[in-house]
């Protein structure tokens, strides 16, 4: 008998479909309470860091260069007090085969799928990850389907996402394009069920273990080149995988004094599942619309338990505005002679501001760059904004920016200033959501200790939040 394919029926089979599609039973990591064994989940890949390096280098992934952004550093120093202005570095992840750090995440997932005997791989992503999975599938001889949220209800597509579709198709993948809505996951599950392919989720332990090499390389390369660890690593933050994997890699390299700072574009007020707001965004990732919900509720992804848990690792979470990122993207091309982005340039705009807080003999590094091209270059982003009625002007982004209404380009580089998100507020929000899912604010000491780890705080902090919530 054919299985019912309506929304509720397919979603109801989520757990069975996932188990088949990942060869991994997440139930083994659950303790029957709120907590689960995160390190056990991460260890379930069975790969050591060295083995992951081997898997990645077999397909030319990783070991990307570090670029010193001399002119941007000099520019930042013009706005810093004397003796301040850390050297700004960029890990040139655009040098990966698919043009972004996502190749690291895809390499492990696709290699695992092949080892386990799957005929194909699937991923639900509108971003660089699709291209990365498609590229790896091409190299490793597997079939590949990428499901994208791409169009609004008038059939108008985000140029950046259309470019990603082109790239996936160039690598031989099938691309399923959808209109706006969280039911992307329903379509994804339904095709996964029909094909029996491997779910190469961004949030699987393979997807995160693959990023650990990035953090590890950053520490090793900085030590070799500069004789010290970077003071700060800035990660563009959306789903949280970059922050989680990079921080874990830094820890494995012993770079425990390096601060991990997350950076997102502030898109406050734009609803991510809104059809009309969809094309009012002038960037498609690295923004708070993904960054905040995935930080405070990581388990709402396409796997039962996400391996990306950024709140465990970030020491600060800063935001910049769309106009800051567009300005710095143009600056990167004009002053450094490299066209990259947009994604890594969220971190770059933040690093430009954060460098000014650090002494001049320190190093601040952005963890990624990505390839640029038609649709995702700063000019088509701004042109698309203008076509969608977004006002573009010079001004003070922090005073005038209204997501979905305008893009304020900083009137000079001194106006590129990060804003700090309230991390304790996010921690509270995490605890509240976790308790709501669990069904009670009365939890035992072990769950309190677990929550303290989850939010990178103390059991006392968790207890005080629970008291407030009761």
């Amino acid at each position: 008998m054919a299985l019912a394919k309506d929304y509720a029926s397919v979603m109801g089979r989520n757990n069975e479909i996932m188990k088949e599609a990942m060869g991994l039973d997440y139930a083994q990591f659950e303790s029957g309470k709120m907590r689960f064994d995160y390190e056990g989940l991460m260890a379930s890949t069975g790969y050591t860091l060295e083995e992951i390096e081997k898997v990645q280098s077999a397909t030319g992934v990783g070991n990307t260069p570090i670029l010193e952004l001399r002119n941007l550093t000099a520019l930042a120093r013009k706005y810093a007090k004397p003796g301040y202005g850390a050297t700004i570095l960029a890990k040139d992840e655009a040098a990966n085969p698919s043009g972004s750090f996502k190749a690291r995440r895809a390499a492990c997932a696709v290699a695992t799928a092949k080892k386990m005997g799957y005929k194909g791989v699937m991923a639900a992503t509108s971003g660089n990850y699709g291209a990365a999975v498609a590229s790896q599938a091409a190299m490793q001889g597997l079939k590949c389907i990428i499901v994208q949220e791409c169009f609004d209800s008038h059939g108008v597509g985000q140029p950046e996402i259309i470019e990603k579709a082109r790239k996936c198709e160039a690598y031989g993948a099938e691309v399923v394009q959808l209109t706006v809505g969280p039911e992307l996951f329903y379509t994804f599950l339904s095709i996964l069920e029909d094909t029996g392919y491997f779910n190469a989720s961004l949030y699987s332990p393979y997807g995160i273990a693959g990023v650990e090499t990035l953090g590890y390389e950053i520490a090793m390369q900085c030590r070799e080149k500069y004789g010290k660890d970077p003071a700060v690593v800035v990660c563009t933050s959306a789903g949280g995988g970059m922050m989680t994997g990079t921080a874990r890699g830094l820890i494995k390299a012993g770079a425990t004094n390096t601060k991990c700072i997350a950076a997102s574009i502030d898109l406050t007020g734009l609803h991510m599942a809104s059809d009309t707001a969809f094309n009012k965004k002038s960037c498609t990732t690295g923004h708070t619309g993904f960054g905040v919900p995935y930080a405070v509720d990581p388990d709402h992804s396409d796997v039962p338990r996400s391996a990306a848990r950024p709140l465990r690792y970030m020491e600060r979470y800063v935001t910049v505005k769309q106009g800051d990122v567009m300005y710095i993207t143009e600056a990167l091309a004009n002053l450094e002679g490299i066209e990259r982005g947009p994604a890594g340039n969220t971190a770059l705009a933040a690093a430009f501001s954060l460098a000014q807080e650090l002494p001049a003999d320190e190093y601040i590094i952005i963890s990624e760059t990505e390839y640029t091209g038609a649709g995702k270059h700063v000019q088509p982003q701004l042109a698309f904004a203008r076509e969608n009625g977004i006002e573009i002007k010079f001004g003070d982004p922090n005073a005038e920016d209204k997501p979905g209404v305008n893009i304020i380009l900083p009137k000079d580089p001194s106006y590129i200033k990060t804003m700090d998100m309230d991390l304790d507020h996010m921690r509270k929000s995490f605890i509240k959501k976790a308790c709501k899912k669990y069904g009670s604010f009365d939890i035992d000491e072990d769950d309190i200790a677990f929550l303290a780890e989850e939010v990178n705080s103390t059991p006392e902090f968790v207890k005080s939040v629970l008291e407030d919530l009761k």
């Binding site: 309506d6 194909g120 079939k143 209800s153 140029p159 573009i392």
Partner: protein, 99 residues
């Protein structure tokens, strides 16, 4: 007229508005979830016909034929004069203009 074997793009409503996730913003809840895929046409047809295609992964999908020999039209966008202003400003600040 599209021939069997042509590379085409099809469109289908996956969920009509009533069958969607109940927790959607108002604007999204009013419209259906739509899908586009590409594949090889399995029988001669006209644009607008209900057809079947074989996709790049050899799946059979059905929907309305919307485009034959589909191609990409995304670009570098129209000229944005503000970018020239940014370039000039940066060079002026860092290198003192033309000097």
């Amino acid at each position: 007229m599209a021939k069997k074997g042509d590379w085409v793009r099809i469109h289908r409503v996956v969920l009509d508005a009533a069958g969607r996730n109940p927790n959607l913003p108002e604007d999204t809840a009013k419209v259906p979830l739509e899908m586009w895929v590409k594949g090889t046409l399995l029988a001669d047809a006209e644009v607008g016909d209900e057809v079947e295609v074989e996709t790049a992964t050899n799946r059979i999908e059905h929907g309305t034929l919307v485009e034959v020999n589909p191609y990409y039209t995304h670009s570098y966008g129209k000229f944005v004069p503000e970018l020239i202003q940014i370039d000039r400003q940066l060079r002026e600040i860092l290198f003192g203009g033309e000097e």
